[in-house]
Symmetry: C2
Subunit: 333 residues, 2 copies
Amino acid sequence: MASRSGAATIAEVAARAGVSPATVSRVMNGRFVGEPSVAERVRQAAADLDYSPNHLARSLALGETKAIAFLVPDLANPAFQAVLSSLSKTAAKDGYRVLVVDSGESTSDEPLLAAEARRRCDALVLCAPRMPEDELVEASVALSPVVVINRRSSRVSAPTLSVDYQSGIQGLARHLHGLGHRHLVFLEGPEGSVSNQARLRGLEEFERSAPDVRIDRIRGGAGSEDGLLATERVIATGATAALAFNDLVAVGLIGGLVEHGVVVPDDISVTGFDDIPFARYISPPLTTASVPHEELGVQAWQRMRSLVRHETPDHDLLFQPRLEPRRSSAPPR
Amino acid sequence: MASRSGAATIAEVAARAGVSPATVSRVMNGRFVGEPSVAERVRQAAADLDYSPNHLARSLALGETKAIAFLVPDLANPAFQAVLSSLSKTAAKDGYRVLVVDSGESTSDEPLLAAEARRRCDALVLCAPRMPEDELVEASVALSPVVVINRRSSRVSAPTLSVDYQSGIQGLARHLHGLGHRHLVFLEGPEGSVSNQARLRGLEEFERSAPDVRIDRIRGGAGSEDGLLATERVIATGATAALAFNDLVAVGLIGGLVEHGVVVPDDISVTGFDDIPFARYISPPLTTASVPHEELGVQAWQRMRSLVRHETPDHDLLFQPRLEPRRSSAPPR
DNA sequence: GCGGGGCGTGAAAGCGGTTTCTCGATTATG
DNA sequence: CATAATCGAGAAACCGCTTTCACGCCCCGC
């Protein structure tokens, strides 16, 4: 007698309880005000049939899915994983689930992926470090409600949560400078990455404040293999310290340096960015700029919750990375 | 003229193209066979209105959401993150998205969370290392289609993908034994964890094969803080080598040992389990049993795809961890 | 004793698609 | 030329739930 999908429907419950579907709906949603005996009959029937409302149908009628989408360039990156983990846990407290969408670093697909993801959910948390600003602006209004991570811009109407990469990288550079380094090399992130550009700006600013330093730049990427691949080019610069785009790159670079018999930090200091959970445990413990990814997830949901409730979200946030000096940086020889 | 949610509906497109909604639906789904000019008109109208079908309504009518749920005890664990990442990427190739549900290690909530997650999606990938077997069996049929990870059991009707923790831990124990260790300590995982029990069985088997070794056991957990917390108890055993429940625990333990001035591997060898991405980079590089988490994600989707297509899924898989000897293990003093 | 106001419940109209079934208009066939 | 076969497209039912609206009933007051 059960429907094809095996699950009981509201109509079946209604029939069994001898009431209308409307009444069942009201009872299930706590909007029932009539005879307690009727409510009890409904509850009993629902229990008998092991009924639980079809989420899809409910969402369609209600116009909300209680789910948000989370678009990231690469879910294999611990930094995004940390955000996702805390976002998911935080949103869950309000009954929301997270649908993950991994663009696989394919910037060109992101607008479509974002749109599709958004259509499936009530809202979208957008992590698209390389999406052209015009598209981002467009998406942030077309796909609203949206919360944008790491893309601060006055043109973006959505709430944004960002990390001050510009000042963060300066903190690292100053740290190295303070240790006595005068020749640095910056191992860049992906081309087109906005946060990479912020780091570059930060370094330019630093260069102006410290005319005695030289900073070389090397093209790279965002993963540890990019760090590994850049090893020889880093060595070739002759720099005494390397600023990696992020922790992942730093880890790859350190691995490459070890293979080449270059000792960190004795021969060359290395710094990362992010402070992923393992940064402190790697060998040598990585000097980095700590980014509160969990807090990013929490705050992202806070903004999102306001948006889906049609409230005014809190103001934008710009997180200041905290310099985390560890053993991968030391005075030059 | 747009509906309240701002998105165009099929009816609006139909009106604009001067056809019925049925025709629009057919055109949008490539089932249209009539006049090409009609199809073109529909396409034009859809483009003009920037129409895209409401995913919810479509899912309701079609009876499928093109989404699968992924239930894990803790999304902050790199091992689960790796599975999620590859599962998400693999499923995406077939147009499926993943909804994440983090039970927060709360075993008692898992049955409800699983049921709720399943109701929202077409299927469920279940990662519940501590769920009582009866509940698991129950869930695997009630929530079908389900793919179960790390819970091999003849009573579970769903396809399962598992890791042979029992033999994996033996490999580690043999490795330590081969190095000359005769007094080991096993830092256990969470109570009730099935994979912990498998490890215990493996160690018992190993003890029988090597009567000259002594293996102490210490209660613990699955996170690095559990490893850290167990430091003193580990030291107190006087063992020359510690087998940690997993890499996370090992990392925490090593951190704790360092704090106590105990040198790894000189004073005590430490091994992990999982081979999380950073195991090779930590200090010292961690000897561990390597588990192909990415492959788990890929295979999980392969099974899942068969299930949602009503095909027979491939046979169950039992992955053999690969011993990964690194510098955290060495001969005892 | 009768009209008006609650109150509890059901009928029905959505939500936005898909799909079956039907029907009128062509085209093929005897 | 009549009729069957075919084809294109629309009407309407349906997916399962929510919610407005209306209705019947009971109770109250005059």
